[in-house]
C-alpha cells in the first residue's frame, strides 16, 4: 500500500500542535520543505529537537511555531548566528534544554532502543550537568566506575529527508547520516521526504544501503530539492549564499517577518518556493558526477 502523500497532507495528518518534533540531518538532508509547510499551517507550541537548530529552526521559531528547543549547537554554521532563536533564548519564557552532540545522539539512540538511559563519557568537568537535570551519572554494576547518562528522547514525529525512497517508505541515503536513523526509530510517527521515489527493486538491489525500513514510516513525500538551502550529497550543494544572507535577515525581526511573508506564506508549497527561486539559481549548486561503483550480492539460489 502506497504511503505517498503531498507535503501538506502529510504535515496536516502527522504533525499536531504541542507535538515534540525532530527534523534531523546534520548539515545534510535537512527537510526545509517540511519546516516551511509547518509554518504555513501555523502549528503552535511545538517542542523542536535538533542537534543543530540551523536556519530551519530559526525560521520556524521566528514564525512562532515553538515553545521549547532541545539542542546541542545553536549557530548558523560558517555564517554567524541564529538571531530569531537568540532573541527568545536571551529573553524570558522560551524553554531550552541543552546537551553536547554526543549527548543528543545518545538521547535518540536510547529512544530508538527503548532503553531508560544511555551511558556515555562526556560532561565530566563541564557545567552542563549543573544547568540540565537530565544529565546524570550512573555507576557500572561491574567495577563501580561512574559515567554520565542521558534519558531517551522519543519525538512524536521525526521528519527525515533522503536521496531516495520507495512508496512504502523504504529509504536509502548516502553521505552524512547524522542521527537520522536514531531519531526516526525513536519517533512515534515518521515522515520521509525524498529527492526521488524509486521502485522497490532499486532498494532491494542494495539492502546494506538502507537508512529506514518502510515499517516505521507513516508518510512518504516526493519533494525534489526539498533540502534547500541545505544540501543533498550528489544532488545539489549547500546554498551558502543563503546561509550568509540569513545572518542579516534573521538579525532584524521586521526583515525576518517580511521574508516569511514573501517566501513561505507567499508560496503555496515547495514547488512555488522553487519557482520563485528560479532554475538559474541552481547553476553553480549542481555537482559533477562521482559514482560509487557497484558491488555484487550474488544470485544465491
Amino acid at each position: 500500500m502506497s504511503k505517498l502523500l503531498p507535503m501538506d497532507e502529510a504535515v496536516a495528518g502527522l504533525v499536531h500542535d504541542g507535538d515534540t518534533v525532530a527534523i534531523e540531518g546534520f548539515t545534510h538532508l535537512i527537510s526545509f520543505a517540511a519546516g516551511h509547510e509547518i509554518i504555513r499551517q501555523g502549528r503552535r507550541d511545538l517542542t523542536l529537537c535538533r542537534l543543530t537548530p540551523d536556519v530551519i529552526y530559526d525560521q520556524m521559531i521566528g514564525a512562532g511555531v515553538a515553545r521549547k528547543l532541545v539542542f546541542s549547537w545553536l549557530g548558523n554554521p560558517g555564517a554567524g548566528s541564529l538571531h530569531a532563536i537568540r532573541r527568545l533564548v536571551e529573553g524570558p519564557g522560551f524553554e531550552v534544554e541543552e546537551y553536547s552532540h554526543f549527548g543528543m545522539v545518545g538521547r535518540y539512540a536510547a529512544g530508538a532502543a527503548k532503553l531508560p538511559f544511555y551511558p556515555l563519557r562526556s560532561f565530566e568537568g563541564s557545567d552542563l550537568p549543573s544547568v540540565n537535570p537530565n544529565i546524570r551519572t550512573v555507576a557500572s554494576p561491574f567495577d563501580g566506575e561512574e559515567v554520565y547518562a542521558v534519558p531517551p528522547l522519543n519525538p512524536d514525529v521525526t521528519i527525515v529527508h533522503a536521496q531516495r525512497a520507495d512508496v512504502h517508505g523504504n529509504t536509502q541515503a548516502w553521505g552524512l547520516l547524522g542521527c537520522q536513523k536514531e531519531a526516526a526509530f525513536a519517533a512515534r510517527r515518521v515522515i520521509v521526504v525524498a529527492e526521488e521515489i524509486v521502485p522497490e527493486s532499486v532498494i532491494r538491489a542494495d539492502p546494506n544501503r538502507v537508512l529506514l525500513p518502510g515499517l516505521i514510516v507513516d508518510a512518504v513525500v516526493h519533494c525534489p530539492r526539498g533540502a534547500h538551502p541545505s544540501f543533498a550529497q550528489g544532488h545539489y550543494d549547500r546554498d551558502n549564499r543563503f546561509y550568509l544572507a540569513w545572518e542579516h535577515i534573521s538579525r532584524d525581526p521586521q526583515r525576518l517577518s517580511a521574508w516569511l511573508d514573501e517566501w513561505i506564506h507567499g508560496t503555496s508549497d515547495h514547488a512555488g518556493y522553487l519557482a520563485k527561486l528560479g532554475e538559474a539559481h541552481w547553476d553553480d549548486l549542481l555537482p559533477g558526477p562521482a559514482l560509487s561503483g557497484e558491488v555484487d550480492y550474488g544470485d544465491h539460489r
Partner: protein, 236 residues
C-alpha cells in the same frame, strides 16, 4: 613578506599537527589549519569530523564541518553514533582541535554563554556541539582562538568543556602550553610581551625561555592565500 597575525596563528596551528595520526577537527579556524597541515607538515594525517566522516580529502576548503566536499573521496562515512562511540570515545583520536569564545588560566573552555546567569545570558553562544565530548575523549586537545581580555579570562563564565586534556593554546599573539595552567612559550613575530599581558585577563605565566614563532614561510602563505582561502572566509 608581510603576513597577518591570523595567518601566523593558522600556520602555527598547522605546524602543531606534525607527527599526528588522527585529528578531530572542530568548528571554525581549525578547518583551515588542518587543511594547511595536510598540504605541509602532516600529509598523512587523517581528519575526523563530528558530522560522521573519517579520512577526508576535500577538493576545496570546507565551508563547514558538514561540507559535502568532506564526504566525496573520504575513507568512511557513518552515523554520528558510530563515530562518537567507536572512534572518539573508543580512544582513536590523537588530538582534538577546538576553538572557543573564552578560555581561562586552567584551560577550561566556554562556548555557551557570556554573563553569570546561564538562564539570562548577556550573549547566547552556540554551546558545546561536540566540543565537550572531544575535550574529554581525545588524547589531547589543541585550542586555536583569537586572544583578547574578553576571550582570555580569569575564570570562564560557563565551563562548556573541561581543560583537563588541553595541551596547547595557539592564538593570534602567541603559543601556550598547558599543564596545571597556561604558560606562554612563544610570541608571534612582532608581538610584545606587554601586548600579550594587555590581552590576558589574569597574571600571565611565562614558560622558561619564551621564544619567537618562526614566521610563516612563503609556501605556507601561498597555500593559504591562493589554494585554500582566496575569498578570505577564514582569514578575514
Amino acid at each position: 613578506m608581510t603576513f597577518t597575525r591570523t595567518e601566523t596563528m593558522v600556520v602555527a596551528g598547522a605546524r602543531a599537527l606534525e607527527g599526528r595520526r588522527v585529528c578531530f577537527v572542530g568548528i571554525g579556524l581549525p578547518n583551515i589549519a588542518v587543511a594547511l597541515a595536510q598540504r605541509t607538515v602532516a600529509p598523512g594525517i587523517e581528519l575526523i569530523y563530528e558530522s560522521g566522516v573519517y579520512g577526508s580529502r576535500p577538493n576545496r576548503l570546507p565551508l563547514s564541518i558538514g561540507d559535502p566536499c568532506l564526504v566525496t573521496g573520504s575513507l568512511a562515512v557513518m552515523p554520528m553514533a558510530e563515530l562518537f562511540q567507536y572512534y572518539l570515545q573508543g580512544g582513536l583520536v590523537d588530538v582534538g582541535f577546538l576553538g572557543a569564545a573564552q578560555i581561562d588560566r586552567r584551560g577550561d573552555l566556554n562556548t555557551t554563554v557570556i554573563g553569570d546567569d546561564y538562564h539570562h545570558p548577556k550573549v547566547r553562544l552556540p554551546g558545546s556541539g561536540g566540543a565537550c565530548d572531544i575535550a574529554q575523549n581525545a588524547r589531547e586537545v589543541i585550542v586555536l582562538m583569537r586572544q583578547s581580555r574578553r576571550s582570555f579570562v580569569d575564570t570562564v563564565d560557563f565551563r562548556t568543556s573541561p581543560g583537563s586534556r588541553v595541551a596547547r593554546v595557539i592564538t593570534d599573539l602567541g603559543v601556550y602550553t598547558v599543564g596545571e595552567r597556561l604558560e606562554l612559550t612563544a610570541l608571534h613575530p612582532g608581538v610584545t610581551l606587554d601586548e600579550v599581558r594587555a590581552a590576558t585577563g589574569w597574571d600571565l605565566d611565562l614558560a622558561p625561555g619564551v621564544t619567537e614563532t618562526p614566521p610563516p614561510t612563503a609556501e605556507e602563505l601561498r597555500i593559504l592565500r591562493e589554494e585554500l582561502d582566496p575569498e578570505r572566509i577564514y582569514l578575514r
